[in-house]
């Protein structure tokens, strides 16, 4: 893999569930692109669109939300809220001429090491095709 061409991805994860899942990938030496950076939050419903926009401004090629889905311990409506945030981001992205495909979400659980790695691989591919 060429360093320079590899798309940069910002991942928002959650402290209790998806971030431990991403840790598991490391623990089990399941590799993904080294241009993936993660910020862990309490809940994916707390992601502000401005943060997402800041990431694009700073040269990230894509933003991935590793959500808890129905396992969220804060709210049963978490997927719904997270979806709304993505919609809002996509609106702002479109306005700025950024493809809405550059933001994605999936539920990642605390043992989802392999799924996370394959999400990263897919997203990397999609982003590479976009540019």
């Amino acid at each position: 893999m060429e360093t320079k061409k590899s798309p940069r991805i910002l991942v928002f994860s959650t402290d209790k569930i998806s971030d431990p899942g991403i840790d598991q990938a490391g623990l089990r030496k399941i590799h993904y692109s080294p241009t993936v950076y993660t910020i862990s939050l309490p809940c994916s419903s707390g992601i502000k669109p401005r943060w997402v926009m800041r990431a694009f401004e700073q040269g990230f090629d894509g933003v991935f939300i590793a959500a808890d889905g129905h396992e969220c311990s804060y709210s049963s409506r978490c997927p719904e809220f997270t979806n709304k945030i993505i919609e809002e981001c996509q609106k702002q992205m479109t306005e700025k001429g950024i493809s809405p495909k550059r933001i994605r979400m999936a539920a990642i659980c605390s043992v989802c090491a392999e799924p996370f790695a394959s999400h990263m691989a897919n997203f990397t591919k999609i982003l590479a095709e976009l540019s």
């Binding site: 598991q24 089990r28 129905h70 396992e71 605390s110 043992v111 090491a113 392999e114």
Partner: protein, 905 residues
């Protein structure tokens, strides 16, 4: 105290800890988490078991009011005035928990594979391993299983022969050398001259012949020394600032110096002789051990910065100590020889063995050309003397020994080689007088002996046969009848035994003077190289503790386990005879002419042939690849079983349940047909942490397309009593396990997601979907297409085409038909069985069991956690089958009851 770190135990512990009670959580496993952490997702919400339980595990592990005791079992619980006195057996993990960072390097390096309990035996894991990727605390463990190979147990120096044999077998010669150097730094000398107590215990010795352990060592030591003619530099990071003096540079002194230097101390050895090495150098004949080898061995020690000052006899230990030394180790050996003290002993031509050997080895050689030489004694020194005499030109050499050959203390190989070389053995006789003219010996008067009753040493006592005296001509006599310690100089400073041995604490080797330690032959009497070296290592261990100001009795030296029962090894089905290699020695006619070595080093091919004969008697190879791999120096093979004493005002039993072992239903052929698995195995296959790369059947890795579930395996079943060959687990289990219907439905739903093409059939009696959301889950499963058949499964057999499919003989309740159904994978939905082993530890009154062997809830309706013993409560599945939500509630109830109980007292 809470017994059991499963979900119920954690919940109870956390509830109490949050109320500010101090909780001792005792778990017999290596991590908390119980069975729940093995599960994939849990019904009815299909949330991930790990996601639910890992936050709870970290909360439990981190809580300041909770003390975790893992890998521990309760030995005894006795009532006392405070509540209960507990004795807990904490098993060694062989890893320092505070140092381990959970990086798994040890597991990666470990070459031994065992069955993985976490993955329900569907795959393997290493002997050094992290229990599972989500373990908490995430600390490695070395599974040594309480025994080791007999060769390892036998070595007085603590060397691990099996470990290095396995490394040599794999071509890891350098690693073998490093392993040896962990214990004893003189492998070169030992590879040639060790009497190999390991070989005496080798399991293969009871088949055709021992593995040639010593010569394997000789091979890798030689290989290493060829590669590194000079000792590679070794950095010691620690520096204690302490100085140690060692008196004597024999195996004991050298080994002690080595370990003390590694521990960061500054060491200086004082040697009386002109050269270092003690007996290795002074008396062992070069045809057995060339000086170059000894010198290279010594470099292993001096390269650590150890100084050796030769020609420096020590007269006063206190004077040495006064030269700014913090401690002194005395290992002066046994360089004093006993004399016959019979008339004529002082004649010229009568010499002591040590003088003779020393003369021959490092100074001028005595010329014995054409002489008739007589050696008195039957030990190794006698053999050495005799064979040396032969090499110095003697025409006839004979050994005079007062007992018979059986009693000879010399090493068998030595006797054998001496005999080969033409040494005469004159047994059961003893000299009574040396005679000669001009002060020079010319004759010996000998008396014949007979053997009487065994004496204190266990050997039969020789008795002189009166009147049997006779005379023999002789030119030269070497007395080799015993060696004793050269300690008389210290008699004012040290307490000595009558025979001159230094009195020490037999465990710590500390003398009555705290800074003075002693070891080797000067403490034990004349022994072997490896015994002396072993003492040096022991002394260094305790001296290091002493220098750190620690209490010596708090430390137990060594990392040994008892030997495995050889019968177990010999009972293995795959044992084949593999004859030992022929001896490789120089021909007699050639070797007696010079002092060159008698024995050859193995070639690489030979060493492999030889190592391949090893029977792999240990569980852990003790090859210490994990020790080398660990970046945190966290592995500690010297850990011992510990007894932890504790007090508890109250006890909660939350030791969980056992899954029914489906082998107890022989008609289902579990363990016999690889594609008949139990539900825990299926849960592992569906979990994201699964042992396989997909849901595959264990028989041949095929993606299953047609899966059957057999509900009520081992539950609602009173027929089990008829099958009695096994333990309690096979007693009948008439009750319902409460979870199997639901987990089977759960697995069915998950399988439909993972294998969209698969057909799933559940053979059931009643579907018991009774909890919140369960009925809805059941209906959903049906609508997803799970095929539910009310039927009894009478028998399971393998399909005859040998392709791994499984045939179920069922009795369909709704149609009344008996049918044979074909599936490619069958899951037995096994029930819960009570786990009540903990009751054995209650020494006075033990909680009563109910008729199903669960812990009896004496007031089921109003005080459901109460047992028959005051102050002892029960939570979770220790009391009855229940699912996760019920276990959690039951644990909360127990915590509430305990808190109320303690607050009332």
């Amino acid at each position: 105290m809470v017994i059991g770190g499963g979900i119920a135990g954690q919940e109870a512990a956390l509830s109490l800890a949050n109320m500010d009670y101090k909780v001792l959580l005792v778990e017999k496993g290596l991590s908390i988490g119980g069975k729940m952490i093995q599960l994939s997702k849990v019904f009815p919400t299909l949330d991930c078991a790990a996601c639910i339980t890992t936050p709870k595990m970290s909360e439990t592990a981190r809580h300041s009011n909770i003390t975790l005791l893992l890998n521990s079992e309760i030995d005894s619980i006795k009532r006392n005035e405070k509540g209960f006195h507990l004795e807990i057996n904490k098993n060694p993990r062989y890893v320092k928990p505070e140092a381990c960072t959970g990086c798994q390097e040890c597991e990666m390096a470990c070459p031994e594979v065992r069955s993985d309990e976490y993955n329900a035996h569907l795959a393997g894991r290493k002997v050094a391993y992290i229990p599972f990727s989500l373990a908490n605390p995430r600390i490695a463990v070395i599974e040594r299983q309480d025994t080791s190979a007999p060769c390892i147990a036998a070595c007085p120096g603590g060397v691990k022969p099996y470990g290095y044999i396995s490394l040599v077998r794999n071509g890891q010669y350098e690693e073998a050398m490093h392993l040896h150097m962990e214990d004893i730094p003189i492998p070169g000398s030992l590879g040639r001259a060790c009497y190999s107590p390991c070989q005496g215990e080798c399991t293969r010795a009871s088949l055709e012949a021992t593995v040639d352990i010593r010569r394997i060592k000789r091979f890798f030591a030689e290989d290493f020394y060829l590669k590194y003619p000079e000792s590679p530099p070794r950095l010691i990071e620690k520096n204690s600032g302490k100085k140690i003096a060692i008196v004597g540079s024999g195996p004991a002194g050298l080994t002690a110096a080595y370990h003390l230097a590694l521990a960061g101390h500054k060491v200086k050895i004082f040697e009386a002789a002109p050269e270092a090495g003690g007996m290795l150098k002074l008396t062992l004949p070069a045809y057995r051990l060339p000086n170059t080898v000894v010198d290279r061995d010594i470099e292993n020690i001096t390269s650590l910065g150890v100084e050796i000052e030769c020609n420096h006899p020590v007269g006063s230990l206190h004077k040495i100590k006064e030269q700014n030394y913090d401690a002194v180790f005395v290992a002066v050996g046994t360089h004093k020889t006993s004399k016959m003290n019979i008339p004529g002993s002082d004649l010229k031509g009568v010499v002591s063995c040590l003088d003779f050997l020393r003369e021959s080895k490092i100074r001028l050689k005595t010329d014995l050309t054409g002489k008739k030489v007589m050696v008195i004694g039957g030990g190794n020194t006698a053999m050495d003397s005799a064979r040396t005499a032969l090499r110095l030109g003697a025409s006839i050499v004979s050994i005079i020994y007062r007992r018979s050959r059986e009693e000879m203390p010399a090493w068998k190989d030595e006797i054998h080689e001496a005999e080969e070389e033409g040494i005469h053995f004159e047994l059961l006789r003893n000299p009574v007088k040396f005679a000669g003219a001009d002060g020079r010996i010319s004759q010996v008067i000998l008396i014949k002996m007979a053997l009487g009753e065994p004496d204190a040493s266990g050997r039969r006592k020789p008795i002189e046969l009166q009147g049997s005296e006779y005379t023999e001509d002789v030119d030269f006599v070497i007395e080799a009848i015993g060696l004793s310690p050269t300690t008389s100089a210290f008699s004012k400073e040290l307490e000595l035994e009558k025979d001159g041995r230094i009195k020490t604490d037999s465990n710590t080797l500390q003398t009555a003077v705290p800074w003075l330690f002693a070891g080797g032959d000067s403490v034990s009497g004349s022994s072997t190289i490896i015994e002396a070296a072993g003492q040096g290592k022991r002394a260094a261990f305790y001296m290091d503790k002493y220098l750190q100001g620690l209490e010596l009795e708090n430390f137990e030296f060594g990392d040994k386990l008892p030997a495995v029962d050889k019968k177990k090894i010999l009972a293995r089905p795959d044992i084949k005879l593999k004859p030992a290699l022929d001896e490789k020695v120089r021909p007699v006619a050639e070797r007696i002419k010079d002092f060159n070595e008698v024995e050859f080093t193995f070639t690489e091919e030979e060493v492999h042939q030889s190592a391949d004969r090893c029977l792999d008697c240990s569980n852990c190879r003790e090859c210490h690849q994990c020790v080398t791999a660990c970046p945190a120096y966290a592995i500690d093979f010297s850990q011992k079983k510990e007894i932890v004493n504790a007090y508890a005002s109250s006890v909660i039993i939350a030791s969980g349940f056992n899954l029914f072992n489906a082998a107890y239903k022989p008609q289902y052929l579990f363990n016999q047909l690889p594609n008949v698995i139990d539900a825990m195995q299926m849960d592992r296959l569906i979990a994201p942490t699964r042992p396989y790369n997909n849901v595959l059947r264990p028989g041949d890795g095929k993606t299953p397309g047609n899966i059957a579930y057999v509900l009520c395996t081992g539950s609602r079943d009173s027929s089990l009593e008829n099958f009695r060959s096994c333990s309690v687990a096979a007693t009948n289990n008439p009750i319902c396990s409460q979870i199997c219907c639901m987990y089977s439905l759960k697995q069915a739903q998950l399988l439909m997601g993972a294998l969209p093409m698969a057909d799933i059939t559940i053979y059931y009696m009643d579907i018991r979907a009774f909890g919140k959301g369960y009925e809805e889950f059941y209906q959903q499963s049906k609508s997803m297409g799970v095929n539910l058949v009310k039927a009894k499964v009478a028998r399971i057999k393998g399909k005859e085409d040998g392709k791994g499919d499984v045939v179920l003989r069922i009795e369909d309740v709704e149609t009344g038909q008996v049918k044979e159904m074909n599936h490619d994978l069958v899951v037995l939905s096994v029930g819960m069985m009570p786990e009540n082993a903990v009751l054995k530890s209650f020494k006075d009154s033990s909680p009563a069991l109910d008729q199903f062997n669960y812990i009896k809830q004496t007031d089921l309706l109003l005080n459901p956690s109460r047992t028959s013993v005051e102050g002892v409560f029960v939570a979770g599945t220790s009391a009855a089958p229940m699912d996760i939500p019920d276990s959690i509630l039951s644990a909360g109830a127990a915590a509430s009851e305990v808190a109320a109980y303690l607050n009332q007292q």
